[in-house]
Amino acid sequence: MVNETSIFEQAQAIFLSNETVITRLNRLADLMSVDKSMKVSFCEIFGKRWSFVAGSRETPSFDQKITLSDHYGILVEGDLLSDEWIDFLKREFKHLKVYS
């Protein structure tokens, strides 16, 4: 079982890294899926369009669709995202550079 505090610290470190947006989001998606029956995809939002940016490529379906900022959203399949995760992501995505 991954410790929740440590997982948020790891996620924070990913956001602070100098890697490209795609690399960071792919790493974040992997981290979020560890130890959970959950797969996530990050999308860029343009009007109605949610364009895939990073995360699970094999997951066509979603159980949660959450807008994280003006530019990004997350699709979650499997276990639902906890409120802590949603708050954390919304906070971090506010500062994330627009990918395209």
Binding site: S41, C43, E44, F46, G47, K48, R49, W50, S51, F52, R57, E58, P60, S61, F62, K65, L75, S100
Partner: protein, 497 residues
């Protein structure tokens, strides 16, 4: 002659560096001589080779140009029959039993180009020119929503008054329109765009407005013919057009669509050109064409060229090109439009068509102003099928096909290379089936005539029966579909998977 204002605008549109960056050793990816050679040298009616190629298609792999040339050369009726059967199987595997419907919405017919085959061409003085205002665009969208359309392809002439900013505004205008339906609210959920090639900076404007698919047809891939039929205007620049979808992908638009206008040059050459186009997109971006289109040249006001095409494609050859394209680019959606007659549509539909239009009007303002079905001086060309959406859907249902109004994919990240992977694995088709049932339920409840409803209910029952039997849907998807279906029957709208 272009006006000084047009000339000054035209000088700024083409950015040479946005062509040059894609060229290899200064050349584009269409080698006319090589294509002719491949067509001439491909084996003819070699059963073993053809069957191997068919197997590759059935594995949902893009064919090579050489393999495509082999299929184009098949003349043996039994082998061709096998190809037709395989084309139908490929379609079923990738997209299941559904056919998506859409409507074209022509926003402007002012144009700086002089394409010999087109009613919009600059020098056609018989054409009544018009650019829809945003209010007009909204009225057109409203008229289409009232009959149940959810997806549009919006079309524009190439002109300074219908440039990228105007196009982006029309996208937003359409998405804003809401019309009360029998149950819930009707809306256009996906706006695709057919517009002239643009710079990357301008394409980003469309991207930010929420474009669905960006569609640019090369018209003809044959360099010499291209030059002949596009004597002036921006469209005279072959590579600017050829790389328009490359620029779109670089701008972030990850669903792009290719096409050729069949009848300008040898149809087999054009099929090969489309394959090369798909390959170049896949190699550079990992994303092939989202859809392919293959319109045939139709009569157009003031165009002698369109009335007497040297390379007219017969109905038999048209069927053949549909079959070969289906096998050669097995993952792509295939669009058959109302340019074709109802009879031809019925004939080729089973061999891989995934999308078609209905209730089609292509005059500027034609939906809301309800003028005569067709008026040549307001249209780019003349249509072959002007049946209503209700009639077309009824016919599909009688053929056992389910009409889908699904626009789920691009609203939940199934775009670009992700959707390509899902299409190739057959997973997307499974979702197509579910979303087809949900959206068809909506449409039947909100817009269908009583006869169409009867035919549609039968199809829905059959589809629900298949979903129940398919183990793919066991892991909760079947149950979720059942819940959504019930909620839609109770009046909720726009539920998708």
């Amino acid at each position: 002659m272009n006006t000084p204002k047009e000339k000054s605008w035209m000088e700024k549109v083409i950015k040479q560096d946005e062509i040059d960056r894609y060229l290899i050793n200064g050349k584009d990816f269409i080698d006319d001589a090589l294509i002719e050679k491949q067509l001439n040298e491909a084996s003819v009616n070699d059963t073993a080779i053809v069957r191997d190629i068919i197997q590759k298609s059935l594995s949902i792999e893009l064919l090579t140009p050489k393999e495509t040339a082999v299929l184009l050369n098949v003349s043996d009726p039994d082998l061709y029959k096998e190809m037709k059967l395989a084309a139908a199987q490929v379609k079923k595997k990738v997209y299941d039993n559904r056919i998506v419907t859409f409507a074209p919405l022509y926003c402007s017919n002012t144009c700086v180009n002089n394409c010999l085959y087109c009613g919009f061409r600059r020098e056609n003085t018989k054409e009544k020119r018009r650019v829809l205002s945003m209010e007009d665009v909204k009225k057109e969208a409203e008229a289409l929503i009232k009959i149940g359309h959810k997806r549009l392809i919006m079309v524009y002439g190439e002109s300074p008054i219908s440039g990228p900013d105007y196009i982006a505004d029309t996208i937003r205008a359409v998405y804003d329109v809401k019309v009360v339906a029998k149950k819930g609210i009707g809306q256009i959920r996906r706006v695709n765009i057919n517009a002239a090639p643009m710079q990357i900076a301008d394409l980003k404007k469309l991207w930010k407005a929420g474009i669905g698919t960006y569609q640019v047809f090369q018209e003809t891939y044959h360099h010499t013919t291209y030059k002949e039929v596009h004597p002036s205007g921006l469209k005279a620049n072959y590579p600017w057009r050829l790389y328009s979808l490359h620029r779109a992908l670089d701008a972030g638009i990850d669903d792009v669509a290719i096409g050729a206008l069949f009848g300008l040059y040898d149809w087999r050459f054009e099929v090969m050109g489309m394959i090369y186009h798909a390959i170049d997109l896949e190699n550079r971006f990992g994303v092939g064409p989202h859809t392919v289109s293959f319109p045939r040249l139709n009569l157009a006001e003031g165009s002698d060229y369109a009335a007497n095409p040297k390379y007219r494609v017969s109905d038999d050859d048209f069927e053949r090109l549909v079959v070969v394209l289906r096998l050669a680019i097995p993952y792509a959606g295939m669009i058959l439009t109302a340019r074709e007659t109802a009879e031809i549509r019925r004939r080729v539909l089973p061999f891989g068509i995934t999308q078609t239009d209905a209730s089609t009007r292509i005059g500027i303002g034609a939906y809301s102003e309800k003028y005569r079905t067709q008026e040549s001086e307001r249209q780019q060309f003349m249509l072959g099928d002007t049946r209503s959406l209700d009639e077309v859907i009824r016919e599909f249902a009688e053929m056992g096909l389910i009409t889908s109004f699904c626009t789920a994919g691009y609203r939940c990240g199934r775009t670009g290379d992700k959707i390509m992977g899902l299409l190739k694995s057959g997973t997307e088709g499974k979702f197509c089936k579910l979303n087809a049932v949900l959206t068809f339920r909506e449409w039947l409840d909100d817009y269908a005539s009583s006869e169409t409803r009867i035919a549609g209910e039968k199809v829905i029952r059959e589809e629900l029966g298949e979903i129940k039997k398919d183990p793919f849907y066991d892991k909760g998807l079947g149950k979720k579909t059942g819940e959504y279906y019930k909620r839609i029957q109770d009046g909720e709208r726009d539920l998708y998977l």
